[in-house]
């Protein structure tokens, strides 16, 4: 073991290069994925039925006006020209003009994205420590009553749709007890604390969905670490149980948890259409939903692509954290 460690240390100057190569590889893959995604999103919004001008101007507009509208908005051009036009402007930060509202798409998506980030942040701050704690406790009390209770509750809550949990939460905390507001949209100009208060109920619903999932991964990671030889060594060295858990078990078991948390970011930012509707909250999911129904495809395709970007950035950051925290990638990838 010591010989191997020494040889790894000797190679140590190379680990930055190894990580850099690994991350460049992931970055290249993400960019390819993103390009593909943009094509798919564009193709999907082209599938929306009906004539764009007719949809926007309504059934009573004259055919000339419809043709004029289509020409002005460039939707009568060949598909590939339109795609190129969209994507080349998109990368420069110009998201085009909303067909329905006739204002720049960025002005509509910007505030919605900020709202979504706020909700996601509150949910995140609640769910990550809670599920780490839950998963760790379940693992330490493996196969006992505490473990069964945490695991079964978590899995059941994960499986139940978030708006169903939200309804129960609204009824309990909003209606029966009257502690929390039943809508998520805080009054205009409300302070940070009021805003957070309004976001608590929807966040609880998201915590319910995510807790079981993250806690299960944490539990599996902790159990794997507890069973590992290095943990036994740590105990045999005479370290206190608390120290073993903190320094040896938790540190190793956090890695899969980070990975799984990252995969949920896309859902937390863009996948909350139902929760946002239920709580009357103007997030990016709600924007996408309304844009899809109004066939406002400039707004729709940019909104959907942004959600995809958020997800890919989150997974990339997770890869980064993963490789920085994981000695096996640091040292082992060179082999």
């Amino acid at each position: 073991m010591s010989g191997r460690r020494a040889s790894a240390a000797a190679r140590r100057p190379g680990w930055r290069t190894v990580i850099a190569r690994f991350l460049l590889n992931r970055l290249a893959l993400s960019i390819i994925t993103l390009l593909l995604l943009s094509v798919i999103v564009f193709a999907a919004s082209q599938l929306l039925p009906g004539d764009v001008g007719r949809n926007v101007l309504g059934p009573f507009a004259s055919p000339e006006d419809v043709a004029k509208f289509n020409h002005e908005h460039g939707v009568d051009r060949p598909v590939w020209t339109q795609y190129w036009d969209w994507i080349s402007h998109f990368v420069r930060g110009d998201l085009g003009t909303s067909l329905q509202h006739n204002v720049p798409v960025g002005e509509l998506l910007g505030p919605s994205l900020v709202n979504s980030l706020k909700l996601a942040a509150v949910a995140f701050v609640l769910v990550v420590p809670l599920s780490l704690l839950g998963g760790t406790v379940a693992a330490l009390r493996r196969n006992r009553v505490t473990d069964r209770v945490i695991t079964v509750t978590g899995l059941s809550l994960t499986a139940i749709p978030e708006f169903v949990t939200a309804i129960v939460l609204i009824v309990v905390f909003g209606v029966v007890l009257g502690w929390l507001p039943v809508s998520a949209a805080a009054p205009e100009g409300a302070g940070v604390f009021t805003q957070v208060e309004y976001l608590l109920l929807p966040s609880f619903a998201l915590v319910a969905v995510l807790f079981g999932y993250i806690a299960r991964i944490t539990r599996a990671g902790v159990i794997e670490a507890i069973d590992a030889d290095y943990t036994r060594t740590a105990y045999l060295k005479g370290l206190t149980p608390g120290r073993v858990v903190r320094r040896h078990v938790l540190r190793n078991s956090l890695l899969p948890t980070i990975a799984v948390v990252a995969t949920q970011v896309g859902y937390l930012i863009g996948g909350l259409l139902v929760i946002e509707k239920l709580f009357n909250y103007n997030g990016i999911g709600q924007r996408i939903y309304i844009a899809a129904q109004a066939k406002d495809f400039t707004l729709l395709q940019s909104g959907v692509l942004i959600v995809g970007i958020v997800y890919l950035v989150a997974t990339f950051v997770a890869d980064l954290l993963f490789s920085l925290l994981n000695p096996r990638i640091r040292y082992g990838a060179a082999e």
Binding site: T33, L48, A159, P161, V164, V168, G266, V274, K277, L278
Partner: protein
């Protein structure tokens, strides 16, 4: 879970029949399932709703669609679960509300499993550039939350139960394909596959007749897990207005129709009972999935 390992000992072969190895294995598995508390609890919950999906409005205390003057009455002797804003009996609507979900979710799951198994067999078996290209596209699609894909597709195709089945099935296909592909990768290097190749069998035969029977276990587990998600997805999309339309007594539709009443600070029974109904069905399906997994994974 102890005592399951000696399950085989308790099973006597039927007289006059020499059961094949596969038959014994299957019977042993059934025996384990019946003794799994998780599985039984799930089967009871799901069975209850399947029963109500079949009998529907025929056995409910009131007609779930009948509009009366007795609006928004709280739960009590006359109406155990109260009445909604059109004076309809909530208990009857909850009991009759299972039918659409019970049609859409299983069919969508079936579609996703068939599509995903085919795709997973192809990508796992051929590897190389076919696999690489399809996997890239799958990754790109899965970068989006399921519901975003579904909403875009449903707006394009129009909303009905049929499009709901197609869209959810299509979204599930790549997810199932991933699981199946992983299973195929483990099988394709085994001797029986090489033997089939040497016999000169063609690729479709090897995929569907040789590999598929060996990976049925993970596919069955995936199917039950997917069914849970399908109910989840149908509920959410129906709530958004893409599924069955009013006045159907669907659970999500009841929630969508009545949740704004909560702003008044009361009338909670109009949404609470349908919510609990959805929760019990989904938890039931997941308990079944859990029980199956425990038995099939050993």
């Amino acid at each position: 879970m102890s005592g399951m390992t000696d399950a085989a000992a308790g099973i006597e072969p039927a007289i006059g029949l020499v059961p094949t190895e596969a038959k014994i294995a299957r019977r042993e598995m059934l025996g384990q399932l019946v003794r799994s508390k998780t599985f039984i609890a799930g089967a009871v919950l799901v069975g209850w709703w399947v029963f109500w999906a079949i009998v529907g409005a025929r056995l409910t205390p009131d007609d779930p669609l009948e509009i009366t003057d007795a609006i928004l009455i709280g739960p009590g002797a006359g109406h155990w679960f109260g009445t909604d804003s059109l004076g309809r009996d909530v208990l009857s609507r909850v009991l009759a509300g299972a039918s659409d979900t019970m049609k859409v979710a299983p069919l969508a799951t079936l579609l996703g499993i068939v599509g995903g198994t085919t795709l997973g067999l192809i990508t796992g078996y051929f590897k190389g550039w076919v696999d690489e290209a399809i996997s890239r596209v799958i990754d790109a699609v899965l970068a989006l939350p399921l519901i975003v894909i579904a909403v875009t597709a449903l707006v394009a195709l129009g909303s009905s139960n049929v499009t709901l089945i197609i869209v959810i099935g299509a979204v599930f296909t790549p997810i199932v394909a991933r699981t199946v592909r992983a299973a195929v990768l483990g099988e394709r290097e085994l001797d029986y596959v090489s033997a089939a190749k040497l016999r000169g069998e063609r690729a479709p035969y090897i995929m569907f007749a040789e590999i598929l029977p060996n990976i049925i276990g993970p596919i069955v587990v995936e199917a039950t897990v997917r069914l849970g998600y399908a109910i989840f997805a149908v509920a959410g999309l129906t709530f958004l207005g893409f599924g069955v339309q009013p006045p159907a007594p669907d659970w999500s539709l009841q929630i969508a129709d009545n949740y704004t009443l909560l702003n008044a600070g009361t009338y909670e029974w109009t949404v609470l009972f349908p919510a609990i109904a959805i929760a019990t069905l989904i938890v039931g399906v997941n308990l079944i999935a859990d029980g199956l997994q425990q038995v099939l994974d050993r």
